[in-house]
């Protein structure tokens, strides 16, 4: 039974554990609980980068018990858009928290000087991190591996220089190759002088009825390893989408100026798998293993001195640092991915910001005076690499504005129509149609994973859907994901966990719920998130949709602004907001 919340206070350098049966009983776990902890722990109107703004991590009742129940949620106030910050990461963190016996962790205050937190079961130590401040996120991983205990069972999460320097879309790297990428958790770490957290534990998880647990486990496992849906994540992985979306005219190219890319084949999942893939790994306790690692052989001096860099790639990264920047070589794209990995930057936001800057330079809204002589142009990998470093170092006003996101940059320099953000969050890699645009607009964290509008559009491309049908599908996903993200499962396995299976799985660990209970809970969780958003100043009415979405053909043809407006009306009605 879940209950324990670990509170860590960086101001006072102390920690304590509290049993919060109340929260877990009502809100299940994961995002349900994390949202409540955020609502109670974050004072209204707090500056997201101030000591008052807490960082919350949560796992759920199925963590470590069932296949692909691998995610940890992070809840915080976003320094990027100033409202709900929420991000999910896999790796080993969820398992490590479970074995350490902490179902949620709340971090408050700020340390005076660089520190990292070491959590081993109930022992919490706040340690000096001055010697690793400024070190790339990738390297911090190897360093802490050698000084901290718990080989094989621990999780190491850390920021890179981008987080330290408060880039508003800096992420947190989790173990190797997973991330709390979106909405700027890395900057929140940086503002607290918090470089890393190491978690490990030795507790077991007991279940009330092992027989029932094993039975339902077997069913779920079988579906997970046998369904085609899962196999696609393992085989080519998410990059399978590059060719698919390219054909469907849904692959954003050169800052959404086009929706198909003439060089897509070269950066496609198939091409990468054939020529660059060298290993696939998985999050702890996942039978799928979707994490694709490519190798990039580069020479670091003349005379054939080589190093092999191992870089994980995914669809969103290929979009953001590939097609959307017009990058035509896998090598160039992998180098850009690695640069983000080292700096600890969210790849999607970085790509969108660079794409906006390239277009703004091209249109003369900014000049090379602003870019400090860096010629930002499509496919100009070298320039992009330099610009990424400058975004982190912020040597002038222009780069420090870029470090605040595309919304801030376009407010300052113009080019709003092609500043590709919705709800203040740089958009993911789809131009599939109205459901994607609308889904990002209303989604709790303005992420494509809130309600998968891109997938609704792809259904509509085969058989047209009415605005009502699209809105209903979005609402259903929004609410259902609130429950799934409380368990917390990997979204790639969502097809395996049907509502019936979720009820059974919960039952086998001693939590009796009906499908109706879960439906109601899903809606309530959504409402609670909106409560936080609205409290922090979010206003759906004020949201802006960049005109570019209406200028470039999508998977379902040209998108009509009226469709979005109609959907908004229906949505408000359905949510009972008018």
């Amino acid at each position: 039974m879940l209950r324990r919340v670990l509170y860590i206070d960086l101001d006072r350098k102390e920690s304590f554990v509290e049993d919060r049966y109340d929260l877990f009983e009502e809100w299940l776990g994961g995002t349900g609980v994390a949202t409540q902890l955020l609502l109670e722990g974050c004072p209204e109107g707090a500056d997201p980068l101030s000591p008052q703004a807490p960082i919350i991590f949560g796992i759920g009742p199925l963590t470590a018990l069932f296949p692909a129940m691998t995610k940890t949620v992070a809840a915080f106030k976003s320094p990027l858009n100033g409202e709900l910050g929420e991000s999910y990461a896999g790796g080993r963190l969820a398992m490590a928290m479970r074995f350490a016996g902490h179902e949620a962790i709340v971090i408050r205050g700020a340390a005076e000087s660089p520190c990292y937190i070491s959590i081993r079961d109930d022992e919490v130590k706040i340690k000096d991190a001055a010697s690793i401040w400024g070190v790339p996120a990738t390297v911090v991983g190897y360093i802490l591996r050698d000084v901290e205990a718990g080989v094989g069972r621990r999780s190491i999460i850390r920021i890179g220089p981008a987080g330290e320097r408060l880039v508003r879309y800096a992420g947190v790297v989790v173990d190797t190759y997973r991330h709390f990428g979106r909405l700027g958790l890395g900057a929140v770490f940086g503002s607290k002088n918090l470089k890393a957290i190491v978690v490990s534990g030795t507790e077991d998880v007991e279940v009330p009825d092992p027989k029932r647990y094993r039975e339902i486990y077997n069913q779920l496992y079988k579906t997970a390893v046998k369904t085609d849906a899962m196999e696609k994540y393992h085989d080519i992985g998410t990059p399978i989408n590059v060719n698919v979306l390219n054909q469907l005219k849904g692959l954003p190219t050169r800052n959404f100026q086009e929706s198909s890319f003439e060089e897509a084949e070269k950066i496609s999942g198939e091409h990468l798998a054939d020529n660059y893939l060298f290993r696939r790994v998985s999050c702890a306790h996942c039978p799928i293993g979707c994490i694709h690692i490519g190798m990039l052989k580069t020479s670091f001096s003349r005379h054939h001195e080589f190093e092999i860099r191992k870089i994980s790639y995914d669809y969103e990264l290929i979009y953001a640092l590939g097609s959307n920047l017009g990058v035509t070589t896998p090598e160039g794209m992998l180098e850009l991915i690695e640069a983000c990995e080292r700096q600890g930057l969210d790849a999607i936001s970085t790509g969108v910001v660079l794409a906006w800057a390239t277009e703004a330079l091209d249109r003369g809204m900014i000049t090379e005076d602003e870019t400090l002589g860096i010629p930002l142009r499509w496919d100009g990998v070298k320039g992009y690499l330099e610009a990424i470093e400058k975004i982190v170092k912020a040597p002038n006003d222009f780069y420090s504005t870029l470090a605040r996101g595309v919304e801030a940059a376009s407010e300052r320099y113009g080019g709003r129509d092609f500043a590709m953000a919705l709800g203040g969050n740089e958009v993911a890699g789809y131009h599939t149609g109205p459901a994607f645009i609308f889904g990002l607009t209303v989604g709790v964290r303005h992420s494509h994973l809130d309600n998968a509008g891109y997938s609704i559009d792809q259904t509509a491309a085969k058989k047209p859907l009415t605005p009502e049908e699209m809105v209903d599908a979005i609402i259903a996903e929004d609410d259902a994901r609130g429950v799934y993200n409380s368990l917390i499962g990997c979204l790639f396995a969502r097809g395996v966990y049907t509502p019936d299976k979720i009820v059974e799985a919960l039952g086998s660990v001693g939590i009796e719920k009906t499908k109706e209970d879960l439906e109601i809970l899903g809606r309530k969780i959504f409402e609670e998130k909106y409560r936080f958003k609205v409290r922090e100043g979010f206003d759906l009415k004020k949201l802006r949709v960049p005109a570019r979405f209406y200028e470039t053909v999508s998977t379902v043809g040209m998108v009509d602004p009226d469709t979005i407006e109609t959907m908004m009306k229906i949505y408000r009605e359905r949510r009972g907001w008018d």
Binding site: A130, S131, I132, V147, E305
Partner: protein, 116 residues
């Protein structure tokens, strides 16, 4: 490592080298070179009870061997493990002299000025 111990201690020794070359574990398994990065606010300096380590204006962190009593506090304080202890129990600490760079034939090591 041989260059460091030869030039700075006159011996051939791995243990007396202030630069460490090792393989690293984890999923990537590569070589790693561990070398003092002259921290802005060096924990080793703070850890030394005898003032044997000192942060200089030019950024270097220097070590005065005669003051050191070999407590090992600095080695523990440095997370990157850039300090080790020699057979006499005194600290081995990089002095940023660049001897290793002169003897790296493969372009792996370089000496550069960094601004903070």
């Amino acid at each position: 490592m041989f260059a460091c111990s030869r030039i700075n201690t006159g011996r051939a020794s791995l243990d007396r080298s202030a630069i460490k070359v090792k393989t690293q574990g984890g999923l990537e398994g590569d070589f790693a070179v561990v070398i003092c990065r002259a921290c802005k606010d060096p924990p080793c300096v703070r850890a030394c009870p005898l003032g044997a380590l000192e942060k200089r204006e030019d950024g270097r962190v220097v070590f005065k061997k005669d003051l050191c009593d070999g407590c090992g506090g600095c080695a523990d304080a440095c997370l990157i493990r850039a300090i080790s202890m020699d057979a006499e129990g005194k600290a081995i600490k990089c002095k940023h002299c660049g001897a290793c760079v002169a003897f790296c034939p493969h372009g792996v090591l370089e000496m550069e000025e960094v601004e903070e």
